[in-house]
Symmetry: C2
Subunit: 209 residues, 2 copies
DNA sequence: TAGATTGTTAATCGATTAACAATC
DNA sequence: TAGATTGTTAATCGATTAACAATC
């Protein structure tokens, strides 16, 4: 909202910067030029400078970028300076996989519960987090100040969940179901359409023969 | 290879066409104009016509597109007219989740085995598919004419797997580890970088407040 | 035939790359 | 100061949209 219109293409590159800068930090590299970064991350040096300058002049002429500072800046831009309460809907393999990923938690995405309509999961815990039934979904979300819902249900269940999410204050959905959810425009949906991804791979495989 | 250079942007839209055309078919809709399709799929009618015309004149003036035919054409383009043997490496929750997805199989991606270095999985079956140890990985791939490997290992294990894959005839990797694999340029890698996706969501959530 | 809608060319828009003055 | 490298403007490239003649 505050920023001028920054293109989605730029935004989608930011997590990659974040990832590579973390790696540089871990290797104790303190400064880096757009040219060197270009070599390891694969964007052109020009693009790197353009991208970063959308958000401010993080570099210094004749020196380059301070890795630690740049990492912090990008973390800030991505909204990683605070924690988010999240819940998963769908306790199947995928839901459980996401519940077990420690990296999300480390970035500040705190899993508060997993929901499932299937009573067979009643009483389960995954990675120390309770699996609950959907009856008290809305109440739980309110009481726990949940801000993001990961939808890991089947294709059929996903829109119903989205409808219920929309009646709460949650404004962000991470959707893994192979369907384009219909939601109000103030709700952000980020899709992981695995099948789309696999079909893209199969296209290129075919073309490559 | 045979086709003129079709942009990646176009290719990445194809699976979505495929998905929506399937839905139209299921609803027994026999023909559709670019204008109507535009309404449900969300691309402009102009873009739809441009996209499809990269591959041939599938429509008919005054009529529109035959849904069944178009669906078949796009299936062909995506390489869905034959089956692919695939294996999963990494028998954790994510690997198991993918093994349990019936939709991949239905599209022609036949899961032949799941591999894991961890002996604790020895003798396991997931969705009727054996979990094997990595010792005979290369032999298995050759004997079963495997063409695609899904990498569902941890970040640390992924590059090792990619290195072993490269010594086989496999030319396609579907990578779920949060790392950019180093492979020869004749190997196609399609990444599902979940963290990148989640961080994009968190950016937009922050911006939307 | 008249109407509808494609295929395709041309115009526009946006993103990437190149270039270089500013400056550390 | 001289060298390096950014920030930023200008040039290029590519993708999307608009327009319309062709044609079913």
């Amino acid at each position: 909202m505050k920023d001028k219109n920054i293109s989605v293409a730029v935004i989608r590159r930011l997590p990659k910067y974040h990832r590579y800068l973390k790696e540089l930090l871990d290797r104790d590299i303190r400064r880096i030029s757009s040219k060197e970064l270009s070599k390891i991350i694969g964007f052109t040096a020009s693009q790197i400078r353009q991208d970063l300058n959308n958000f401010g002049g993080f570099g210094q002429q004749g020196y380059g970028y301070n890795v630690e500072d740049l990492y912090q800046e990008i973390s800030k831009i991505l909204g990683l300076t605070r924690n988010y309460n999240v819940v998963i809907v769908g306790a199947g393999n995928l839901g459980q996989a996401l519940a077990n990923y420690t990296s999300f938690g480390r970035l500040g995405f705190d899993l508060k519960a997993i929901f499932d309509i299937n009573p067979k999961f009643r009483g389960f815990k995954v990675n120390d987090v309770d699996v609950l039934d959907m009856d008290n979904f809305e109440t739980f979300i309110e009481e726990n100040a949940v801000e993001i819902v990961y939808i890991c249900t089947s294709r059929n269940g996903a829109q119903d969940v989205a409808d219920r999410v929309q009646k709460t204050k949650v404004k962000a959905i991470w959707n893994f179901a192979p369907i384009d959810l219909k939601v109000n425009e103030d709700v952000i949906v980020e899709n992981v359409h695995l099948i789309d991804n696999l079909l893209t791979l199969s296209y290129f495989l075919k073309e490559n023969q």
